[in-house]
Each structure stands twice: as structure tokens, then as C-alpha cells.
């Protein structure tokens, strides 16, 4: 049984498409992307981003000593 995916041309059986995948993994993120191409045309691209370096606020307080 084949799977179909959403594309710019509607649902298409993945067996009819060329699949490309990639991963970007660095200090900031890990991103996995997947593309499906039909006759040289990009018809589907999805991405899954995991953020590694998130927002931190460092706090400080003042003192009374000189």
C-alpha cells in the first residue's frame, strides 16, 4: 500500500515522486526537512525545527554598598 502526500498538485502517491531529505544541526537548531519533486518541480516541502538556544534573561540587583 502506497502513501499519498499533499502537494501543489493535490494528493500524489509518493512512489511517483523524487524524495530529498536533509538535516541542519548546529548550536542553534536541529532542522530536518523533506522535499518531494515531480518532473523537476518542487511540489512539497516540510520542515521540522527544534530550537536549542532559547531565550534567557539574566537578572541582577543593585546593592547599597559603595
Amino acid at each position: 500500500m502506497s502513501d499519498s502526500i499533499t502537494t501543489t498538485k493535490g494528493l500524489i502517491d509518493v512512489s511517483l515522486l523524487e524524495k530529498k531529505e536533509g538535516i541542519v544541526d548546529n548550536d542553534n537548531e536541529r532542522t530536518e526537512w523533506i522535499e518531494y519533486w515531480l518532473d523537476g518541480e518542487l511540489v512539497h516541502r516540510s520542515a521540522h525545527v527544534t530550537l536549542k538556544r532559547n531565550v534567557i534573561s539574566n537578572t541582577d540587583i543593585g546593592g547599597f554598598r559603595g
Binding site: N28, R45, S46, V49, T50, V55
Partner: protein
């Protein structure tokens, strides 16, 4: 036993819970948590620490994407703020997902903002330039702890 100059860790958690108002604040009608949204921005946009609220300027255009982005989802949008050591932290309850969208102009940032309180900005998170074609963008939330939580006050 000596005294130690410090900011209370409980205070950091309470900031996230909206308990303190050093200046003019807002009238809160209930004790429930606010609602938040996540909007995507083009690589040419200039969202940064100086930004104060959601703006449509520089927001990604596309099919299946509504201006303003998506709601954070879950019974509550954020995991209840907690602390470990002297760091307070919280993370959205669920991953942020843009389902079946086509975003062909490159984007590289998401703004999380408070849609209950005048769309005030919470944070901007950047990542490598992306496009989506008839597909899904998933922003996976990190482990909610003092090291990787999405929002941390140390």
C-alpha cells in the same frame, strides 16, 4: 550564617505568572492564564529585543497561513512556570505547528506574543532560513527545564 544579596527565585517565577506590578499594570479580569500566538517573520524583517508587540510588517505571506500566526495550543498555552536552582523557566505546552501551508518567501523567525494583553511580544526565536511548499512547519518545543526551557530567567 550570613545574609546573601539575591533576587528571590520565587519572584522570577511570579514574574512569569504576572503577580508583581512595579509600574502601571493592566486590570486582570480573572486568574486564568493568558492566550498566546506565534507568528512567522521573513528573513528581511527586523524583529528583535526592541520590538514590543506583534506587527504585520515583515510577517510571512503565504497560502494557508493567516496573519497573526497560530494559537499556542493545549489546556493552557504554557507549562506552569517553575524553577530549578535560581533559574525560572517555562515552555509552551505543545509544539507550534503550521499545517498545510505554502510559504515561498524565506523566513527565519517566530515571534511569540500575548494575544490577551494587546498582542505584546514575549520573545523572538530565530532559525535557519526556511520555505514550505504544500507542507507543514513544526517547531518542536525543547525540554522544559532550567537549561533548555523556551523562556528562562536566570
Amino acid at each position: 550564617m550570613a545574609n546573601t544579596q539575591a533576587m528571590a527565585t520565587s519572584f522570577k517565577v511570579e514574574i512569569l505568572n504576572g503577580l508583581h506590578a512595579f509600574g502601571t499594570s493592566v486590570v486582570r479580569g480573572a486568574t486564568t492564564a493568558d492566550s498566546f500566538k506565534a507568528a512567522l517573520y521573513l528573513t528581511t524583517a527586523t524583529i528583535a529585543a526592541a520590538s514590543t508587540a506583534y506587527t504585520a510588517t515583515g510577517e510571512v505571506p503565504g497560502t494557508g497561513y493567516t496573519a497573526g500566526g497560530v494559537d499556542l495550543t493545549g489546556a493552557v498555552d504554557w507549562i506552569a512556570p517553575g524553577s530549578s536552582g535560581t533559574t525560572a523557566f517555562s515552555t509552551p505546552t505543545a509544539n507550534i505547528v503550521y499545517t498545510t501551508v505554502t510559504l515561498t518567501t524565506a523566513f527565519d523567525a517566530v515571534m511569540i506574543y500575548n494575544s490577551t494583553q494587546g498582542n505584546r511580544m514575549v520573545s523572538c526565536h530565530t532559525f535557519g532560513s526556511q520555505t514550505i511548499t504544500a507542507g507543514t512547519l513544526t517547531l518542536t518545543m525543547p525540554t522544559n527545564d532550567a537549561t533548555t526551557g523556551l523562556i528562562r530567567i536566570a
